[in-house]
């Protein structure tokens, strides 16, 4: 056991348990000593920091350790395993939640004790079971961890305001999550079918190792992978199962939103990658499935970012932009499958690495931005961008951190969002190696949509930053905005630092990510990425394209900063100040600025198919003219509402058989029995 206790798996496990115990005990303690909130959150963030290092250690060592723990039911053991993939996601979990918990230490200061205790216990439950999802190595414990994680996320959402909308969002989340779980379960069952009838299906045959030995027909494998895609997709916001996400993520309290978007979506990505590459197995995947995944991802990226531009509430904007990022990750995964299945291991590994890299990046910058949105809302008391404005002057430090997150998510160099999108684009460019028009044109489609979505993201986040942080205040609340507390800033600073380092040292990150991908694909890049130095992104052999965000930053910095400091540092005090010219219009006020909707207008007009719009334009004769516009996700009127109506109609029809008389019910039971027996006999 001495050797086991030194392994990263043991360390991760004990950290997770410590996290759970601290959280639950802390919640109990809080009800007695309300002042303990800050130290408890600080302790928790230290524990997640330890988890980060545990993941990092496992990743650096490339360790792959299994552990079987006795479970509660006889013959059922809990299989645990920390391989590089699990280590990578533990690192992601720890890294993002450290920042979020640090932030929570400051954020919860003004909250009622009861709600802090709620948030605390639910957050730790959520973190523990998400960690469990990454470590589970059999279908049974995976499902347990997965389900509790889903329920914990439901409760996290409910710890927001107690309004009907929040309840509805939480209910929808739970509904889709459970629907997804059923599909995952079905797929596990499909994989556990053995061709040899002699082997008895015991519970131990549900370990991932046993499941990965399955031999399915091509159709069966496609079905299993589709079920996994839909099942995990329901939790990742896959179109068209995404409707809960834009409602749920903004409804939760800020730290919870950050965790749901930064971490939980990645748990779904983890599940999908684990299931596709290990359980179904690369040898059983179809290249057409890769194309499907890629096209879905591309469509999702475009859909998400277009809707993000339309949102005027900062959290809703961020939630829709999560759809874009998940789309990019799915696109990379699908591209990877396509390349690997058509015999191009190098670009395949590259695409898959880019997808995982982007997942890590998204965990950092999206959590940062959600926290930033939380500080905006907290500082102004407003939830709409149209009531904010000018916040950079009141909140210069946190505003700068948000600016960094905005640049990252827009994929602008030298940030981490750029690095991963760059890698993904390089992977799509290898399409010329493919044969077949459909394969090539689908990759081309993916590349074209990817660059379009990335450019639209810059527009969406100029809106986010420009309307929220720049310009003049648009409300009394925005005028009285205040900088956030030191702990909140530290939490955001941690995430910003993480984003920055991931972006400036992409070579080092890529080297570790390739370690995660190689066992999945049974290939590796021919030349290790770090062979050219740590500051370089050079994934393909030496003649290939290269990029160095660090040197780029250094180049622009060396040129810009001296001029900035020398010239403006010496002259700034002497420069004359005057009211803005504004083309001669002196009465500037918050209302003379562009509103958040003005960013959305050209997008609405140019991409009408993506929205379901209802517009009311008043006629000239109208004595009481009102202009009204409502924009909605077209999935509601086209898919969900008809579906709900159908279910209600079915339920009402089924109601008719319920007469309330026991004799009728006995006849029902009797008939069912007869039918079942005859089926058995006939079989």
């Amino acid at each position: 056991m001495t050797s086991l206790s030194a392994t990263p798996l043991f360390f991760s496990l004990s950290t997770l348990l410590a996290l759970l115990v601290t959280g639950l005990a802390g919640a109990w303690l809080l009800t007695r000593r309300p002042t303990f909130a800050t130290p408890i959150f600080l302790l928790l963030s230290l524990e997640t920091l330890a988890l980060t290092f545990s993941g990092l250690r496992g990743l650096l060592a490339g360790s792959d350790i299994r552990l079987v723990l006795p479970g509660g039911i006889p013959d059922l053991f809990i299989h645990l395993r920390q391989d590089p993939l699990a280590s990578f996601f533990l690192l992601l979990l720890g890294g993002a939640s450290t920042g979020v918990l640090l932030f929570s230490a400051g954020y919860t200061k003004d909250m009622a004790t009861k709600r802090v205790a709620e948030l605390l216990s639910r957050t730790t439950l959520f973190l523990f079971f998400t960690g469990g999802v990454f470590l589970a190595d059999d279908a049974y414990s995976f499902m347990v961890f997965w389900e509790v994680m889903a329920v914990a996320s439901f409760f996290l959402i409910l710890s927001g305001d107690k309004t009907p909308e929040v309840r509805r969002a939480g209910y929808l989340t739970l509904l889709l999550a459970h629907g997804g779980s059923l599909l995952i379960l079905a797929s596990f069952a499909l994989l556990s079918i053995r061709e040899t009838p002699s082997s008895i299906v015991s519970l131990s045959s549900f370990s991932f190792e046993a499941l990965s030995q399955s031999h399915l027909s091509p159709k069966g494998a496609l079905l299993a992978s589709l079920l996994f895609l839909l099942g995990f997709g329901a939790k990742a916001g896959l179109l068209p199962l995404h409707v809960w996400l834009p409602l749920a993520h903004p409804a939760a309290p800020t730290p919870a939103s950050a965790l749901l978007s930064g971490v939980m979506l990645k748990a779904a990505i983890y599940g999908l990658i684990r299931a596709l590459f290990e359980l179904v197995g690369l040898h059983q995947l179809a290249s057409s499935f890769g194309i499907l995944l890629m096209v879905t991802g591309a469509f999702m990226a475009l859909f998400g970012i277009l809707h993000a531009i339309l949102q005027s509430a900062p959290k809703a904007l961020l939630a829709y932009s999560s759809l874009e990022n998940i789309g990019i990750i799915l696109l990379g995964t699908g591209l990877g499958i396509l390349y690997l299945k058509t015999g191009h291991p190098l670009p395949g590994t590259l695409a898959l690495s880019a997808a995982l890299f982007h997942a890590l990046n998204h965990a950092f910058f999206k959590s940062l931005l959600f926290l930033g949105a939380g500080t905006m809302i907290h500082a102004t008391g407003e939830t709409n961008l149209n009531r904010m404005g000018g916040l950079l002057r009141h909140m210069p430090r946190s505003g700068t951190l948000v600016l960094l997150g905005v640049l990252s998510i827009s994929g602008i160099p030298p940030t981490n969002g750029f690095a991963s999108e760059w890698l993904l684009l390089q992977a799509t460019l290898q399409a010329r190696d493919l044969s077949g028009t459909i394969q090539r044109s689908s990759v081309l489609f993916g590349a074209a949509i990817l660059v379009l979505a990335s450019a639209l993201a810059a527009m969406a986040f100029l809106k986010f930053f420009g309307v929220g942080y720049l310009g003049l205040p648009r409300s009394e609340g925005a005028k009285a905005a205040h900088e956030c507390s030191l702990l909140e800033m530290l939490g955001m600073g941690w995430l910003a630092l993480g984003s920055l380092l991931l972006g400036l040292l992409p070579g080092l990150v890529l080297k570790e990510v390739v370690k995660v991908v190689s066992p999945l694909t049974a290939t590796s890049l021919t030349v290790p990425p770090e062979a050219y130095g740590w500051a370089w992104l050079l994934p393909l052999p030496p003649a290939g394209p290269s990029s160095s965000p660090l040197l780029l930053l250094a180049l622009v910095g060396i040129l810009t900063l001296p001029v900035f400091w020398l010239y403006w540092g010496t002259r700034r005090g002497k420069m004359r100040s005057a009211p803005p010219w504004g083309c001669g219009y002196r009465e500037l006020s918050g209302r003379s600025q562009a509103s958040a909707e003005s960013f959305a207008q050209p997008i609405r007009h140019f991409f009408p198919v993506f929205f379901s719009m209802k517009r009311h334009l008043p006629t000239p004769e109208d004595p009481d003219p009102v202009f009204d516009l409502s924009v909605e996700d077209p999935h509601w009127p086209l898919l969900y509402r008809p579906l709900f109506r159908l279910f209600i109609a079915l339920a009402e029809a089924a109601e008719r058989v319920r007469s309330g008389r026991i004799s009728v019910y006995l006849i029902y039971s009797f008939t069912t029995l007869i039918i079942l027996l005859s089926v058995l006999r006939w079989h």
Partner: protein, 321 residues
């Protein structure tokens, strides 16, 4: 003479020359476009040096800081200027592979321009003046299709080398196949549209407009004065030149110096100046023929660029492989 190429820092010297070339020649190119435009419109030209006179005059003037600006307002002009100056070290035009070219491939370069654009739009929104907001927003409205179009054009030209590094693209074009492929032709057409959109030229934006309501680029600079304004304007001039240089690299690379011998460098320089001379006149011609588009029509124009560039990419696979 033969010793010079072995001198290790010779490549760096050329790089530095490239930067000086872009910084100091960009206003002249602007002046040249103005001269041709004036001649075409039956006006007396203000002279080749007019942009230089404007810049020097602005540099001597006082800076007036608008009340309520944030640090972005002050930081963006030097940033914008030096992003463009720095980009001139990364794009090969006097020599095929400048020592700093590996730092940024074509995709990174587009990203760098995107950083410059984002910074400029953010600075325009800093004060909350209606026209500044409008300019920043419109700039992004133009860019959300021109930027992907630029990338798709880059992808198309990089299909021959399989690499988005600009020196390899140039190298692949020197390897025999003539640059008259249908896909390249389409990409070149798309590039012209992108060029006009990205650099605020007619028919997207009128660089010499005085009507604020129709402005895009100028609206973003309305609050700037003195040296800050000079840096922004000068940076935009560099951007125009850089885009032309990129276009020359991709679609008309003939004559660019392959080695470092002084003669070939000189030939390359002369060829380059000749191309810029012709292209500048071409821009002036386009600007004299076309009227400015209505602002609502701009997405159609840029969408055409995007579709053309995607089509070019597709054509390569359909016709040329």
């Amino acid at each position: 003479m033969a010793l010079i190429p072995t001198f290790p820092s010779f490549g760096w010297t050329i790089s530095l020359l490239q930067m000086l070339f872009v910084i100091f020649l960009a206003p002249l190119l602007y002046g040249w476009i103005g001269v041709v435009r004036a001649i075409l419109q039956n006006r007396r030209p203000a002279g080749l040096l007019q942009p230089w006179r404007n810049i020097l005059r602005l540099l001597r003037k006082e800076t007036i800081l608008p009340e309520g600006h944030s640090y972005l307002f002050l930081f963006v002009p030097p940033l914008f200027f030096f992003i463009m100056a720095g980009a001139s070290l990364l794009i090969p035009f006097l020599m095929v592979s400048p020592p700093l070219a590996p730092v940024a491939d074509a995709v990174t370069l587009v990203g760098l321009f995107s950083l410059a654009r984002f910074a400029m739009a953010a600075a325009a929104m800093d004060l909350g003046t209606p026209f500044g907001d409008m300019g920043g927003r419109r700039e992004m409205m133009v860019a959300f299709l021109t930027e992907p179009a630029t990338l798709m054009i880059l992808f198309t030209v990089s299909l021959w080398s399989g690499s988005t590094a600009i020196p390899s693209i140039l190298h692949s074009f020197s390897l025999g196949h003539s640059p008259f492929h249908p896909s390249l032709l389409i990409a070149a057409m798309a590039f012209i549209l992108v060029f006009l959109g990205e650099n605020a030229r007619l028919p997207i934006d009128n660089p010499s407009t005085h009507l604020e309501l129709t402005m895009i680029h100028e609206a973003m600079l309305l609050e700037y004065s003195g040296p800050l304004l000079a840096l922004m304007e000068w940076g935009s001039m560099q951007k125009l030149l850089l885009y032309l240089l990129l276009g020359i690299d991709f679609f008309a690379p003939l004559g660019i110096s392959r080695g470092l011998s002084p003669l070939s460098l000189l030939v390359g320089l002369v060829a380059l100046l000749g191309k810029l001379f012709v292209l500048g006149a071409g821009i002036a011609l386009i600007e004299s023929i076309f009227a400015k588009l209505r602002i609502f029509r701009i997405p159609e124009f840029t969408a055409l660029a995007y579709l053309l560039s995607t089509l070019g990419f597709l054509l390569h696979f359909v016709l040329e492989v």
